[in-house]
Symmetry: D3
Subunit: 159 residues, 6 copies
């Protein structure tokens, strides 16, 4: 295992720390993360139901995800507070649940993938909250980064 295979957030004695990024150059960075609400056909019918008022159910999750992205440094202990410059949360109702995709951008010294992952997780939890009276077994699945670009490490695409 090489030197690059280290947990960067703990020092050589194992103590947690917020890594010093002062010397890094601010650059435009972008991350895309995704996840999925897994639920029943009943819930899918309720969410899909062509009637317009249902809009709030998805809107609530979308807004929770966007706001969640902004709370990332409050939630993830060793994350740097960064200047999030854009967030979108896309929700697509499928036959087995809701596909959640979040895209985040920044012009800062460190990557924005934790913000995208947090947006996905919070949107997913908000969907669970809204459907749990109908489906108490609803779950949030596969919260993961799909793509990131910008910064020293450059582009990464999920294999």
């Amino acid at each position: 295992m090489t030197d690059t295979h280290k947990l960067t957030h703990v020092d050589e004695t194992g103590a947690a720390r917020m890594v010093d990024v002062s010397a890094k150059t601010p650059t435009v960075r972008r991350a895309v993360a995704a996840g999925r609400l897994a639920t029943t056909a009943d819930v899918v019918a309720l969410l899909r139901d062509g009637e317009l008022p249902k809009g709030d159910a998805l809107a609530t999750a979308r807004i929770a995800g966007i706001m969640g992205a902004k709370r990332t440094p409050d939630l993830i202990p060793l994350c740097h507070p960064i200047a999030v410059t854009g967030v979108t949360v896309d929700l697509e109702v499928t036959d087995t649940g809701v596909e959640i995709t979040a895209t985040t951008k920044t012009t800062d010294r460190t990557g924005v993938e934790m913000e995208a992952l947090t947006a996905v997780a919070v949107a997913g939890l908000t969907l669970v909250d809204m459907v749990k009276a109908v489906d108490p077994a609803a779950s949030v699945e596969a919260v993961r980064v799909l793509h990131k670009e910008g910064g020293k490490t450059g582009e990464w695409v999920r294999p």
Copy 2:
């Protein structure tokens, strides 16, 4: 579809609302939720590595999960602020990642499963943050309620 098959968090016109629970009786309630960090054997070795200082990596996730439980009403738009009376977050390193289990308790008017789910999700995201330099593909899987008890609906065990 029966009356019980409704999304309780939107009213008949589809507008989001925080459901009125004033008339409910405070009772002891408990919820258990779980999830999993899926990662590589390399990361598992780093987390497992018998050397004690590594403790902080898991401790950071445990504490983030506990603190995350307390932030639930700030994150999930329609959740009631409740008096969380106990939280534990258990982490077990396995061959393919980390199993995350959170138990939350309250003595309030509404259930505490969103707090347990939020603890799991935040602990999972914190683990991703700590290992992402080694495994950028690490993901949080299967965030779900295992068990809940207390309140009018009584006990529910994941089928």
Copy 3:
């Protein structure tokens, strides 16, 4: 000026304090507050526009108002943290803007009107944020309590 004509949140020396309510009995309390986004006919047309996708504009304000109610003790220095047990935010698009009405409930030792007022103000500011590119002069007007009930002082209706 009688004894009841005092600013309760400052003591006899003028120092700010959070008033001690330990001895008060928890009771069901309810408050209704209102306010108005004043904007142009152009914006009204955009908000009203029958096309369904526009739903998010109002949904965003509704959710911001509900979440804002929960943040009241973080924002208003001398407010007690209370167990908000229900919040609704109603938005009605009129010819001159949007009428905002918030209803909050609690079962606690002190009133819930500041939570209702905060919900109205935050919903109003969110609407301003969404329309300001079209109408930079949009304003939030007449944020006020309409009605409150519960607690020792009983019912109050705006004259």
Copy 4:
């Protein structure tokens, strides 16, 4: 209605989003917003009362307004977190209430008027909280931008 007459915070399908400002240049920006606490002569007398200790009543509102400006991205869902570089909140007791003026500055990619408006609203709500035992009908009126400058759109003065 031209293309510039769009609600920028919802996309073409109506979904809420945080607009991407990564490509904008950081510049010094300044905004001034105002509002008014409308209350009774009794309250005005209490606030004006030459006796010095009363200072805390106005100081509490001033500080709440300044702190509120910093909470703007937590409250307004689609607001970007920006680096607020200065805030003042001025309060002037008049015969019919308190005139509230907030000035905010930033050196960032987007305007600072929502921060100024939030400072005014929170200061106003704090004043309501402090006087509501004497005047339960106190209201916050006319929360609006007076002036903004900096950025691509340049100066705007309330007509």
Copy 5:
């Protein structure tokens, strides 16, 4: 060392947890904590200076302390969120600095001394912030509980 000599916030394996207090009875509890800003004669003169406008310097610290008490569960990882029912922060300018005393009350399942200590610490840090341009060596000293009462353990007075 007896069983009562344990760190209650870590379990038998050493893992941090929020202790379960569900079974405890809510009772009125009160705590008094104190601390001291240690600074120079120059700063004392500025704070004391009979001229009234200086009021804001102390008012800012008083309000920060009160608001800080409410943020305790957000700051101290294993603290329970409790219903704070009253907070006062007293500041007394002495020849060598400012004596800070905070009194907190609750009617809940667990003690309120962490809230009193947090109020003192935040008030002290706020004073440091205000005087640091004049005295960069200003410090916060002796943040400690003086007295607590209520709950199963009853009264405790600092020896």
Copy 6:
């Protein structure tokens, strides 16, 4: 007393304000602050106890300190929100307690010593919370800046 001997956070009328730093140049800045948990030999033995699981006790304080640094602008009313680019919190168990040292870095327009002091204070309070069942008289002592550098005023070392 010269002009430089002013409380910068209040204006000439004594009103609190967030000082305008828009015109300052972002530079790398660094601060080191320290403090001490004073406690009994019993507690020291519990914290020191070679057995590894105890790790969480110190890890909890370390993480609370790091997260506390990020909450500084939420706690200290007149502090600017700044881009914290690195935080470490070091804890050293001594015969009479725990020495706490925090180092913070930023690349912004204003200093980072309040963030370092807040990290120390929050880590100290967290330690008090963890040991208070064993030592209710535990205190946080001597929270002070040791060193700062960067910015117009350059280096300052505690005399």
